[in-house]
Structures are given as structure tokens and as C-alpha cells.
């Protein structure tokens, strides 16, 4: 456990050295700037759009961090040949993989946490300055606590994308890993179409294949509750818990598979 936490802290430090936190400044500028501009452009929908923008930006920035850092977690160590010195220490390969993953998840957690605070700060300010009459037109309160549900599922989705990137990183080059991770991200968002494939094809075999792919590919669309939360539509705790549990199991499967592949790799 100590070895895992050491590796994780080092991954986090490396991301700070790589100036990853700069994206937080960009996020803050984006939100604050747009909160001013949108008031002039959106016919009273600025708070809704700030929420949409905040949630989407958290997701996009997190996605780029998860993919572009995730794909280099293992391959960078191999390229630099620092893997030899690392594995010669009392660190097992599963510990190495788990530590790398935990470090990037820590980076993402800090990132998502700060973005959440920034979004609530902007929404809180807008709630404070607007008149009661104007606020009556909002579908949900400005700094709505329900947004945390969407943030939680975005974070779990990013954890899953990180696990995918790390999985590919254990056996593939960074460019190929990035392409495959983005490919899976896109496929994961179209997953709901595969579930209903039998409605558009007559072939039973094709329908079964699509149904199989639906279950095998990560169901990323299920983590998207942004629209519901912004409009104040009910999202049950059961659904959120079910999605978190699904994400956790899928991540566990990917990390185990990554560990198996990485354990068999020969670095001679």
C-alpha cells in the first residue's frame, strides 16, 4: 500500500510539473468571461448556459488530461528506461499499475474539485447579484446542490477513461493508445444505439453481436445526466449509485487486465 501511495503521489507531482493545473486557470477565465458575455446574448438563459458550460468544460478538460497523461503513464517509463530502476525496487507490477492509476485519479480529483468550486462560485455570484424577480424565471436554484450528482458521474466517467488509457498504455505506443482510447470514448457514447440495434436490422446474428458489443464496450452515455440536472429533473440516488458501481466494476476489470498484460511483458 505504501508503494502504491508513493507512486501515486509522484504521478501527481509530475502532472503539476507538467503544468496540468494551468487548465484550471483557463476554466476559471472561461466561466467568468462567459458569465458576463452570456448575459448579453442569451435572453435570460445565462445561468442554464453557465451550468451547461461548466459541466461540459469539466468533462472535456478532464477527458484530455485522462487521455493524454493516461497514455504515457507506462510507455513513458519504458521509453525513458526508468522502468528498470523502478521494478528493481520492492515494487510489484500490480502495485506499479495501481499506483500510476491512483496518481492520475488524484490529479483528476483535484481538477474536478477545483472546477466544481469555481463553478459554484460563479453561480453563487450570479444568484447574489440577480433580482428575486429574475431568479423566479430559473428552473432550478443558481448554486443547485444537484449539480454535484452530475459532477460525481463525470468524475467516475473520467476514472473509467483513465483506466482505458492506462490499459492501452501497457502494451501499445502512445499514439495508438490515444487513438484507441478516443475510439472507445466515442463508441461508449453511442452505446445506447447498439442496445436497440434489433429494431433496425433483420439479421438475428447482427442483433446479437450488437447486443454483445453493448455489454462489452463501456457504457459512457449512462454517466451523462447533465441535461437532467440542469433542468431540475429527478435523478434517483439508485441510478447514481448503480452507475458508480458499474463504473467501479468496469475500472476494476480494466486494471486487472492491464496488470495481467503488464506482468507478462518482458523488458529485457
Amino acid at each position: 500500500m505504501r508503494a502504491v501511495s508513493h507512486i501515486a503521489v509522484n504521478v501527481f507531482r509530475e502532472s503539476v510539473r507538467d503544468r496540468v493545473p494551468y487548465n484550471l486557470v483557463l476554466f476559471a477565465v472561461l466561466l467568468i468571461g462567459s458569465s458576463y458575455l452570456l448575459a448579453q446574448l442569451t435572453a435570460g438563459q445565462d445561468v442554464k448556459i453557465i451550468k451547461d458550460l461548466g459541466l461540459a468544460a469539466t468533462s472535456v478538460f478532464g477527458l484530455f488530461i485522462a487521455v493524454f497523461i493516461g497514455i504515457g503513464l507506462v510507455s513513458k517509463e519504458v521509453e525513458r528506461r526508468s522502468i528498470y530502476s523502478l521494478l528493481s525496487k520492492p515494487i510489484s507490477r500490480p502495485q506499479f499499475i495501481t499506483g500510476k492509476y491512483a496518481g492520475l485519479v488524484l490529479t483528476l480529483a483535484v481538477n474536478v474539485g477545483v472546477m466544481t468550486l469555481a463553478m459554484y462560485a460563479v453561480l453563487g455570484y450570479m444568484t447574489w447579484i440577480e433580482s428575486a424577480e429574475f431568479k423566479a424565471s430559473w428552473e432550478t436554484p443558481g448554486a443547485d446542490p444537484a449539480l454535484l450528482k452530475a459532477m460525481l458521474l463525470i468524475f467516475v466517467e473520467l476514472m473509467l477513461v483513465t483506466a482505458i488509457a492506462l490499459f492501452f498504455s501497457t502494451f501499445s505506443s502512445p499514439i495508438l493508445s490515444a487513438a484507441m482510447t478516443f475510439g472507445l470514448y466515442v463508441a461508449g457514447n453511442f452505446n445506447a444505439d447498439l442496445r436497440n440495434f434489433e429494431q433496425v436490422v433483420d439479421s438475428r446474428a447482427a442483433a446479437w453481436l450488437a447486443r454483445g458489443l453493448y455489454h462489452v464496450l463501456p457504457d459512457l452515455s449512462s454517466f451523462d445526466i447533465k441535461t437532467q440536472v440542469v433542468h431540475g429533473l429527478p435523478v434517483s440516488a439508485g441510478y447514481v449509485a448503480g452507475s458508480v458501481a458499474y463504473g467501479a466494476l468496469y475500472i476494476a476489470a480494466l486494471l486487472l487486465a492491464a496488470t495481467v498484460i503488464f506482468s507478462r511483458r518482458d523488458f529485457k
Binding site: 452570456l38 446574448l41 442569451t42 435572453a43 435570460g44 438563459q45 442554464k48 448556459i49 451547461d52 458550460l53 459541466l55 461540459a56 468533462s59 472535456v60 424577480e133 429574475f134 423566479a136 424565471s137 428552473e139 466515442v186 457514447n189 453511442f190 459512457l220 452515455s221 451523462d224 447533465k226 441535461t227 437532467q228 440542469v230 433542468h231 429533473l233
Partner: protein, 291 residues
């Protein structure tokens, strides 16, 4: 330090050059505002990759800009032609985008020059809203309103008002309005009542639209009074109707509509109309003056 300064100087020179070039060689406006690259809502939903709500916001902003720009640009030949497709895309991407449906209901059905005068598009948009949220009484109310105000069909309007009244949380004034539609048709009292309800809407643009419509109804009343007065003034056969001749009969000054623009008088028929330069032009189709 010198390099930083040189970089800043280069940037300033580039911007200066750009300003000079744009003035010296003006480029034709590519008309990007009139372009809609993707028209299929289903395709757009796929492309949005889970960022549907943000894409809907972008289309909403475009719809607002399109509407505002077309409203200001009186010389444009095909005005508001993208308003419906933009609102259709925004609501397809975000089916709960309440304000987009209601904005469409009000402005798609408005007659030119204030809108495209396409009430059937307003109804289609609202029906889409009902499909997404069948319990939303406001959408049924808005369809009723379009039937009543734009399509001049009080029977259909009454049916939609009754459906609105049957939805959860609907206000209790909807059923009496439905009954009034059937018994009195398109009278101004019902119109005035409906627009007065809209005055308490939570969106400022809806309140402004209601204020405008109420002023138009006041104008119709004033025109009735003026025409009744004109008819009562004796005149010689063939004598044209003029404000001057009416002033001799007791009219104190050239009457103005509620927006402050003088009314126009047809010298041949004595009919009073609002000026084309008035903010209230055009008035809604004639309604009977029963009050």
C-alpha cells in the same frame, strides 16, 4: 527582454496591418449567419457526443441573434428563415429547453415584420415540447394561444385550452377562457385577458411582447372610437376626410396611437389606420369590437 519586446512589436504591427488591409481591401460578407451546416437534429445529436445541452445552448444563442438581427435588418429579403430550423435543432438537442419552445410559440407565429408569420411552425415546435414533457400545461396553453391569436380559430383554441386545464398544476382560469372562446369567438376581452396573464410571465421578453399586444388592442379600441366620431361628423358629398376638417368638428389635435405615432386617415373612406412607421404596425387582423 529584447525578444519579448520584439514579439510584442511584431504582434502590434500585425494587428495594425490587418486593420489597414481590412479598410483598404474590404472583403465581401460571406453571410455565415445564414448558413446552417447540419440540418438533421438526429445527426447533430450523434455529433454532439454527450455534449447535447451545450450544443443546444449554441443553437439557442444563434436563434436569438438571428431573430434580433433579422428584426433590425428591414431590408433583408428572406427574413427569419433560419429561426425555425435553429429552434428545432436546439430543442432536439435539449428536449427540456422550455424557453426555446415558448420563444418559438410567440415569435414564429408573429406576422411580418415582427416575425416570420409561420404559426404552423410554432405549433409543430410546441407539439415536440409536449412529446418531451406531456404534463407541461404551458405548451398546451401556447398552442391554444397560437390558434386563437394567429390562426383565428377559437374552436381549436378552446379545445387546446381545455387540454391545458387538464394538466397537473394548471391555473384555474384556463377552463373559463375555453368556455369564453366558444361563446364569444375572437373578442378583444378574451385577448386582453390572455395577454394580461402573459404580463406575469417570468421572462422579460414575454412580458414585453404582452405589453406590445395590449397596446395594439388599445389601438384597435381607439380606432373604433375615432371612426365612430368621424362617421358622426356631417360633411358635404365628395369632401375628403382630413384631420383639419375633423378639428373643426371638435377634435383637438391629430390623434396618436399608444406608441406616440400619429394615426393616418384615408381621405376617401375616412378609415383610420396606424402609420407604417409606428412601433405597433401591423395591427392584428380585425377582431369584432364586442367588449
Amino acid at each position: 527582454m529584447i525578444r519579448s519586446l520584439a514579439a510584442a512589436v511584431c504582434l502590434i504591427l500585425a494587428v495594425t496591418l490587418q486593420v489597414w488591409r481590412d479598410r483598404a481591401f474590404p472583403r465581401a460578407d460571406p453571410g455565415t449567419q445564414q448558413l446552417l451546416y447540419v440540418r438533421s437534429p438526429e445527426a447533430l445529436k450523434r455529433i454532439a457526443l454527450g455534449f447535447d445541452a451545450l450544443a443546444a445552448d449554441l443553437y439557442w444563442i444563434r436563434a436569438i441573434q438571428q431573430y434580433g438581427g433579422d428584426r433590425l435588418d428591414a431590408g433583408k429579403a428572406r427574413r427569419y428563415e433560419l429561426l425555425y430550423p435553429l429552434l428545432d435543432l436546439a430543442t432536439a438537442l435539449d428536449p427540456y429547453f422550455n424557453i426555446a419552445y415558448r420563444f418559438g410559440a410567440i415569435f414564429l407565429s408573429e406576422a411580418p415584420p415582427g416575425g416570420p408569420g409561420r404559426p404552423e411552425h410554432a405549433v409543430a415546435l410546441l407539439r415536440k415540447g409536449i412529446a418531451a414533457q406531456p404534463g407541461k400545461w404551458q405548451y398546451y396553453h401556447d398552442i391554444a394561444f397560437v390558434h386563437y391569436w394567429s390562426l383565428r380559430d377559437p374552436v381549436a383554441a378552446a379545445a387546446w385550452f381545455r387540454r391545458a386545464a387538464a394538466q397537473p398544476g394548471a391555473p384555474n382560469w384556463l377552463l373559463p377562457v375555453a368556455a369564453a372562446m366558444l361563446t364569444q369567438g375572437s373578442d378583444r376581452t378574451s385577448s386582453r385577458f390572455l395577454w394580461q396573464q402573459m404580463l406575469s410571465a417570468d421572462q422579460e421578453w414575454m412580458r414585453r411582447r404582452a405589453e406590445h399586444a395590449l397596446m395594439q388592442l388599445d389601438t384597435l379600441d381607439q380606432i373604433d372610437q375615432l371612426e365612430a366620431f368621424i362617421a358622426s361628423v356631417p360633411r358635404r358629398p365628395g369632401e375628403p376626410y382630413t384631420w383639419f376638417s375633423l378639428a373643426r368638428a371638435g377634435l383637438r389635435r391629430v390623434p396618436e396611437d399608444p406608441s406616440g405615432t400619429p394615426y393616418e386617415l384615408d381621405p376617401a373612406t375616412g378609415r383610420v389606420t396606424v402609420s407604417r412607421s409606428s412601433l405597433l404596425f401591423p395591427l392584428p387582423e380585425p377582431m369584432d369590437a364586442k367588449r
